[in-house]
């Protein structure tokens, strides 16, 4: 395992090498992939599901799926894209299941207390970046507090780069509704930020 941990920045380790080694059954290489992408998967799951335990479950499920199928991964899209779509699909399935079984109401105060946002890269002057970081944290807090019909399309469009068509297919809603909901979600963020300032 150590051979993958020697550098101070694990991101620098070539993702393709790790995938190739994982395909050959190198468990240490796969564990390194887990270390590189676990937070990303967890974050995506948390923003969609708004539940730390479910986000953990989804993270584990996604990596089990990846582990069981990585031998067949051809690498036509990047690993990040592949794992991102897999995470979103798994989360949407969970949401569908939840809407059938559980009460949708979640305590927002509890959600905002439950997480800490960190930045993977931030290349701006310190003063400016501090202000931006706080604003981004505030924006994310508002995003998490949004209703599901606004939150999911906004996250998929603005944070995950999905097209309107893909979001419509995933959520089973017309493209027009998706566009309207994203516009309303952005407007809500804008209005709430005014009061924050």
């Amino acid at each position: 395992m150590e051979k993958y941990n020697k550098g101070s920045r694990p991101r620098e380790i070539d993702e393709k090498i790790l995938i190739a080694r994982s395909k050959m059954g190198d468990k240490a290489a796969f564990e390194e992939l887990v270390r590189q992408f676990s937070r990303y998967v967890y974050t995506t799951a948390f923003f969609i599901l708004r539940d730390t335990h479910e986000a953990e479950d989804v993270s584990q499920e996604v990596f089990v799926k990846v582990y069981l199928s990585i031998k067949g991964f051809r690498g036509l899209s990047s690993f990040k894209t592949w794992i991102r779509k897999l995470t979103v699909n798994t989360c949407i399935d969970k949401l569908r299941l939840r809407s059938k079984t559980k009460d949708k109401k979640v305590s927002l105060e509890k959600i905002t207390e439950e997480y800490e946002v960190v930045f993977t890269r931030f290349s701006q002057s310190l003063e400016k970046s501090f202000f931006n970081k706080e604003m981004v944290k505030e924006v994310l807090k508002i995003v998490v507090s949004l209703d599901e019909s606004y939150r999911i399309p906004l996250i998929l469009r603005d944070l995950q780069d999905y097209s309107y068509r893909e979001i419509a297919e995933l959520t089973g809603k017309p493209i027009g509704t998706i566009k309207t909901n994203i516009h309303r979600a952005r407007k809500t963020i804008k209005d709430k930020l005014k009061t924050y300032r």
Binding site: V34, S38, F63, L68, Y115, F119, R165
Partner: protein, 112 residues
């Protein structure tokens, strides 16, 4: 809205710090994979897996996601082909008339 877009763009690089050691949990889970876990690879997953491993499916997906851009590209391609064909025709025409002129001048030389 510009500021919102900017903040959301920055937010793409933000990750949530999990309360527990998520890496360890995932690695532990992977170490104990059993037969029952293969159920996770359901039809939906296999469908996604098949599509993500097919070049044709990925290209179709890209076209469906950006129909405008691909239409513009196709129109531009057609224009380029028409333009090349047009230039080729002009070039051939000039060559032909040039050849005819050459023939005419040479036949004039013969009569002289």
């Amino acid at each position: 809205m510009n500021n919102i877009d900017r903040y959301l763009k920055i937010a793409r690089d933000a990750v949530i710090k999990p309360s527990d050691d998520i890496d360890k949990k995932i690695i532990d889970r992977i170490s104990h994979i059993g037969k029952s876990d293969e159920k996770l690879l359901d039809d939906k997953f296999l469908d996604y897996f098949k599509k993500s491993n097919s070049r044709v499916c990925l290209i179709i997906e890209k076209i469906r996601n950006n129909p405008g851009a691909f239409a513009a590209l196709a129109i531009a391609g057609i224009f380029i082909i028409v333009f090349i064909a047009f230039m080729f025709k002009i070039f051939l025409g000039e060559e032909k008339t040039g050849g005819d002129n050459h023939q005419l001048s040479s036949s004039k030389d013969d009569t002289q």
